[in-house]
C-alpha cells in the first residue's frame, strides 16, 4: 500500500509549452519513457524533472535554453532525438539519403529496362504466334 501511494508524477506541465518540451525528453530513471509519459510507480526522477521543467518554462527561457539546462544536468541522453550537429547529423541525413539514392537507382533501372514495343506497319495484323503469346500472357496477368 505504501508503494502505491509513494512517488507519483508531479502535478506539473501546467502549460502546453511545458508538455511540448517534455515530449522531447526522456525520463532519466532508466524506464526509457518520454518524460511527460513516464508513469511507473516509484520513479525517482520524473517528479523532480517535471518540477524543474515547469520552473524553467515559468522563467521565460527559450525552448533551446531549457533543453540545454537539462542536458547540463543529465547529459545528452536526456534529449529524445539526436542533436543536429557534428557526427549526429548523420542520424537525420541517412534515411533521406537512402530515399534519394533509391530514387536515383530506380530512375537508372527504369531507363535501362524501358524498351517500348516496336510499332507495327500500318494495315498488318500481328502474326498468329505473337497473338497466341499475348493472349497467354494476358490470361496470366489477370
Amino acid at each position: 500500500m505504501l508503494a502505491l501511494v509513494a512517488l507519483t508524477p508531479a502535478q506539473a506541465q501546467k502549460t502546453d509549452r511545458a508538455k511540448a518540451i517534455g515530449h522531447r525528453m526522456f525520463c532519466m530513471c532508466g524506464c526509457k519513457q518520454i518524460l511527460v509519459e513516464c508513469n511507473h510507480v516509484g520513479c525517482t526522477m520524473s517528479t523532480a524533472m517535471l518540477k524543474k521543467l515547469d520552473a524553467e518554462v515559468a522563467s521565460g527561457k527559450s525552448d533551446d535554453l531549457i533543453l540545454q539546462a537539462f542536458v547540463q544536468d543529465f547529459g545528452a541522453e536526456v534529449i529524445a532525438e539526436p542533436p543536429a550537429k557534428g557526427f549526429n547529423w548523420l542520424a537525420w541525413i541517412m534515411p533521406f539519403a537512402v530515399v534519394g539514392g533509391g530514387l536515383w537507382v530506380i530512375r537508372a533501372l527504369l531507363s535501362r529496362w524501358h524498351q517500348p514495343a516496336p510499332a507495327l506497319p500500318s494495315g498488318s495484323a500481328p502474326p498468329p504466334d505473337v497473338l497466341a503469346r499475348i493472349r497467354e500472357e494476358t490470361d496470366r496477368e489477370e
Binding site: 507519483t8 508524477p9 526509457k32 509519459e37 516509484g42 539526436p82 557526427f87 517500348p116
Partner: protein, 687 residues
C-alpha cells in the same frame, strides 16, 4: 519430467543433425531412401520438441519450483490461465517456444510436400533443420529451461533445492492480450523461415522457374498475417495496459518486430513482378533473405542488451550466439548467391514508365527506406557512442519526424499502384481510374482545411485516405458492376463473387483498406489532449466534452495483488454516460511489482482514457490523468480488416467455368452448344 523434457530436446537436436547430414548426403548421391529418412527425421524433430515443451508446461502447472525457470516466472497463486504464458515470459522458455513453433511449421511444410518437388524439398529440409539445430543448441546447452535450482549440501555434494513458492509472473504479462501477443509475433518470426528456406533452396538447387514462389506465397502470407496480429496486439496492450496514453513508443523491441514486417510487405509485392514478368529475381531473393535476417536480428537486439529497452530480456551472453548465427546466415546467403547468381538472370523489360512494375519499384523503395530508418534510429545510439564516445538517445521525436513523410508517401502508393496496368497504363486509363479519387481526396482536404483543420501531416493523411479509399472502392465497383450485369446479382453478392474469383487481388485491396483505416487512427494522434489533476472525492474536472466527477477511492484485494481504485462518473452535456474504474495494482511478487488498469471509454470519434496515477507526494491527494485520443479505435478496426483481407487472400480462387464444358461435349460428338452459353457451375474450377 524435467529429465524427460531435457532428453526429448537432446533427441530433437540429434534428429535435426541427422536431417542435415542425411539430407546433404541424399542430395549428393540422389539416394531416395536417404532423402526420405532425412525428411522423416525433420518431422520427428517436431514431435520431440512438442514433448519437450509439454514437459515444461506440465512443470508449470504442477508448481515444480525445483526448476529455476518455473521458480523465476510462476507462483502458486498465479491464475492457471497465466501459467501457460509464463512458459514464454523469460529467455529460456521463449527460446524453447521459438523452437516449438518452428518445428510445427517445419513439420507441416515437410508433410504437405512429401513426394513432391524432389529437386527442391531436400534442400528445404536441410535448411529448416539447420535453423532448428541452432535454436536446439541454445535450448539444450546454452539456455536450458530445465535447469534445476541447486545448492551445495552439508557433505559438499550438490543437491536439488526446491523452493516453496516462485517469484510469480511479471504483472505486465498478466493480461489476456499479453498471453496472445508473443505467440502471434513468434508465429510471424518463425514463419518467415519458410520462405527463406524455399528461396535459399531454389538458389542452391538452381530450381527452374518461379514455382518456389507459388509454393511459398501462402506460407509467407500466413507469417506476415501473424506478424501483423502480433504487432497490433502489442500496440493494443501498450495502450490498454501501460497507461501512458499511447500505443507505440518506437522502443527497440517494437522496432525489431516492425522491420521484418516492412521487408516482408515489400517481398509480398515485388514477388508479383517475378511471377508475372519474371523480373526482379535477384532483388526478391535478397528481400526474403533480409526479412529472415531481420527476424534473427530482432531477437538478437531483444536478448543481447546491445540496445536498452523496457521490453528486453535480462542481458546475457546469448547475444554472442545470435551475432554468430547472423554472420553465418549472411555468409551462406552470400556464398549461395555468388555461386549461383547466373541462375537469377532475368529479362528485365519495361514497356512504360507508367506501369505497375514501376509502382512496385517505388513501393519497395519506400518500404525499405522505412525499414532502414527504423533500423538506423534503433542502432544509432550505439553507432554514435562508438564513433564519438558520447551517449545520445534516439526516441519518438526522431522516428516520427522521419517516418511520417515516408509513411504518407507509402499511403499514396497504396492508392496508385494497384490501378496501374502491367506493362503500360494509357492516359485514358489514368484519367478513368484516378480522376474521381484525386478529386475526392482534394475536396476532402480542402473541406477539412476550411473547417479549421490545420495540422499539416494530418491534413495530407486525410486527403490521401479518402483518395485511396475511393481507388479501392472504384475497383470493387467496376468489377461488381460487370458481374451484376451478367448475373443479375445484388451488389453484396456481386462483390462477394468478385472477391472469391480473385482472392489474392481483392484480398489485397481489403488489406489496403485496413491500412487506410489504421492511418486514419494514427492521424488522430495529432490532436491528442490530456489533463492531469489532483482530485478528491466529490471534485471534478473537464477534458473536451467530458466532465469527470470523482466519487471515491478504495482499496481492494485481487487473487494475487492489492489495488487502489478510483470510481469516476463521466458526464457529457450534463448527462451521465458511464462509470470508469481506473486502478493501480501492486502484485504479491518478490519485487512487489505494480501495474495499471486503464479505463477507456471508446467511440468511433475518440477515446476517453483515464489512468489513476497515484497520489500527490506533497498533499497525498489522488491524481487522475485523463486523455482524449481522437480516432484511436480505427487503428484496431483497421487491424481487424487487415486480418480479414489476409485470410481472403490466402483462400483459393473460385472461378466460373463458362462455355468450355458445352464446347467440349460438342467436340466429342454431343449436341451443339446453345447460342448463349450459360455458366455450367459457379464454382467449376478451383485454383
Amino acid at each position: 519430467m524435467d529429465l524427460f523434457g531435457s532428453f526429448a530436446l537432446l533427441l530433437a537436436f540429434a534428429c535435426a543433425g541427422y536431417a542435415i547430414l542425411a539430407g546433404l548426403a541424399g542430395i549428393r548421391t540422389r539416394n531416395p531412401l536417404l532423402l526420405k529418412s532425412a525428411r522423416n527425421a525433420g518431422m520427428a524433430v517436431c514431435i520431440l520438441v512438442v514433448l519437450g515443451t509439454a514437459s515444461l508446461v506440465y512443470l508449470f502447472y504442477t508448481n515444480n519450483f525445483a526448476l529455476a525457470y518455473v521458480a523465476e516466472h510462476s507462483s502458486r497463486d498465479l491464475p492457471s490461465f497465466y501459467k501457460l504464458p509464463a512458459l514464454w515470459s523469460g529467455q529460456q522458455g521463449s527460446l524453447l517456444f521459438w523452437s516449438f513453433l518452428l518445428s510445427i511449421y517445419t513439420f507441416f511444410v515437410l508433410f504437405t510436400n512429401r513426394g513432391k518437388h524432389p529437386e527442391l524439398m531436400p534442400w528445404v529440409g536441410v535448411i529448416l533443420a539447420s535453423v532448428q539445430i541452432f535454436f536446439l543448441t541454445l535450448n539444450c546447452f546454452v539456455a536450458s529451461p530445465f535447469s534445476l535450482l541447486g545448492a551445495v549440501g552439508p557433505s559438499g555434494a550438490p543437491m536439488i533445492l526446491a523452493r516453496a513458492d516462485g517469484n510469480g509472473l511479471n504483472p505486465l504479462l498478466q493480461y489476456p492480450e499479453m498471453a496472445a501477443h508473443p505467440p502471434n509475433l513468434y508465429l510471424g518470426y518463425t514463419g518467415f523461415t519458410i520462405p527463406f528456406a524455399f528461396a535459399l533452396a531454389a538458389l542452391l538447387g538452381r530450381y527452374p522457374g518461379e514455382k518456389w514462389i507459388h509454393l511459398t506465397r501462402r506460407w509467407t502470407m500466413v507469417a506476415w498475417g501473424f506478424q501483423s496480429v502480433g504487432i497490433l496486439l502489442g500496440a493494443h496492450w501498450a495502450y490498454a495496459v501501460l497507461g501512458w496514453g499511447g500505443y507505440w513508443a518506437w522502443d527497440p523491441v517494437e522496432n525489431a518486430s516492425l522491420m521484418p514486417w516492412l521487408t516482408g510487405t515489400a517481398f509480398l509485392h515485388s514477388v508479383m513482378m517475378q511471377e508475372k514478368r519474371g523480373m526482379m529475381k535477384v532483388w526478391n531473393i535478397w528481400l526474403v533473405f533480409i526479412t529472415f535476417l531481420l527476424c534473427i536480428l530482432g531477437t538478437f537486439l531483444t536478448r543481447s542488451g546491445v540496445v536498452s529497452s523496457v521490453h528486453a530480456f535480462a542481458q546475457s551472453s546469448i547475444g554472442q550466439w545470435f551475432a554468430g548465427f547472423l554472420v553465418l546466415i549472411l555468409a551462406v546467403c552470400l556464398l549461395a548467391y555468388f555461386k549461383n547468381r547466373d541462375y537469377l538472370k532475368s529479362d528485365n523489360q519495361l514497356d512504360s514508365m507508367v506501369s505497375r512494375e514501376s509502382s512496385f519499384l517505388f513501393n519497395n523503395l519506400i518500404l525499405l527506406a522505412a525499414c532502414f530508418a527504423v533500423l538506423w534510429g534503433t542502432l544509432f545510439p550505439v553507432i554514435s557512442e562508438a564513433f564519438t564516445g558520447n551517449k545520445i538517445s534516439v526516441g519518438p521525436p526522431f522516428f516520427n519526424k522521419v517516418n511520417i513523410p515516408i509513411g504518407l508517401f507509402l499511403l499514396f502508393l497504396t492508392g496508385v499502384g494497384p490501378l496501374l496496368a502491367w506493362r503500360k497504363t494509357s492516359a485514358d486509363s489514368l484519367i478513368r481510374n484516378f480522376g474521381w479519387p484525386l478529386v475526392g481526396g482534394a475536396l476532402a482536404g480542402a473541406a477539412a482545411f476550411a473547417g479549421g483543420f490545420r495540422h499539416f501531416y494530418a491534413l495530407i493523411c486525410l486527403a490521401l485516405c479518402v483518395f485511396v479509399t475511393l481507388t479501392i472502392g472504384g475497383e470493387f465497383f467496376r468489377g461488381a458492376k460487370v458481374i451484376r450485369a451478367r448475373t443479375g446479382m445484388n451488389w453484396l453478392s456481386a462483390v462477394s463473387e468478385l472477391s472469391l474469383r480473385n482472392t489474392r487481388r481483392y484480398g489485397g485491396y481489403v488489406i489496403h483498406f485496413g491500412i487506410v483505416l489504421i492511418f486514419v487512427g494514427l492521424a488522430g494522434s495529432a490532436f491528442n489532449k490530456d489533463v492531469q489533476q489532483a482530485i478528491h472525492p466529490g471534485e471534478q474536472f473537464s477534458i473536451g466534452p467530458y466532465t469527470l466527477l470523482c466519487q471515491e477511492f478504495e482499496t481492494r484485494q485481487g487473487p494475487n495483488y492489492t489495488a487502489e481504485r478510483a470510481t469516476i462518473e463521466v458526464t457529457r452535456n450534463g448527462k451521465s454516460l458511464l462509470m470508469l474504474y481506473p486502478e493501480r495494482r501492486q502484485f504479491n511478487t518478490a519485487n512487489n511489482e505494480t501495474g495499471t488498469m486503464v479505463s477507456i471509454y471508446s467511440t468511433a470519434r475518440e477515446d476517453l482514457y483515464v489512468v489513476y496515477a497515484g497520489r500527490d507526494p506533497d498533499s497525498g491527494a489522488p491524481i487522475v490523468h485523463a486523455y482524449l485520443n481522437p480516432l484511436v479505435k480505427w487503428i484496431w478496426i483497421g487491424g481487424f480488416v487487415l486480418i480479414l483481407g489476409t485470410g481472403l487472400s490466402i483462400l483459393p480462387n473460385q472461378r466460373v467455368a463458362i462455355v468450355l464444358s458445352a464446347a467440349r461435349q460438342y467436340a466429342e460428338g454431343g449436341p451443339a452448344p446453345a447460342t448463349s452459353p450459360a455458366p455450367v457451375s459457379p464454382y467449376g474450377a478451383q485454383h
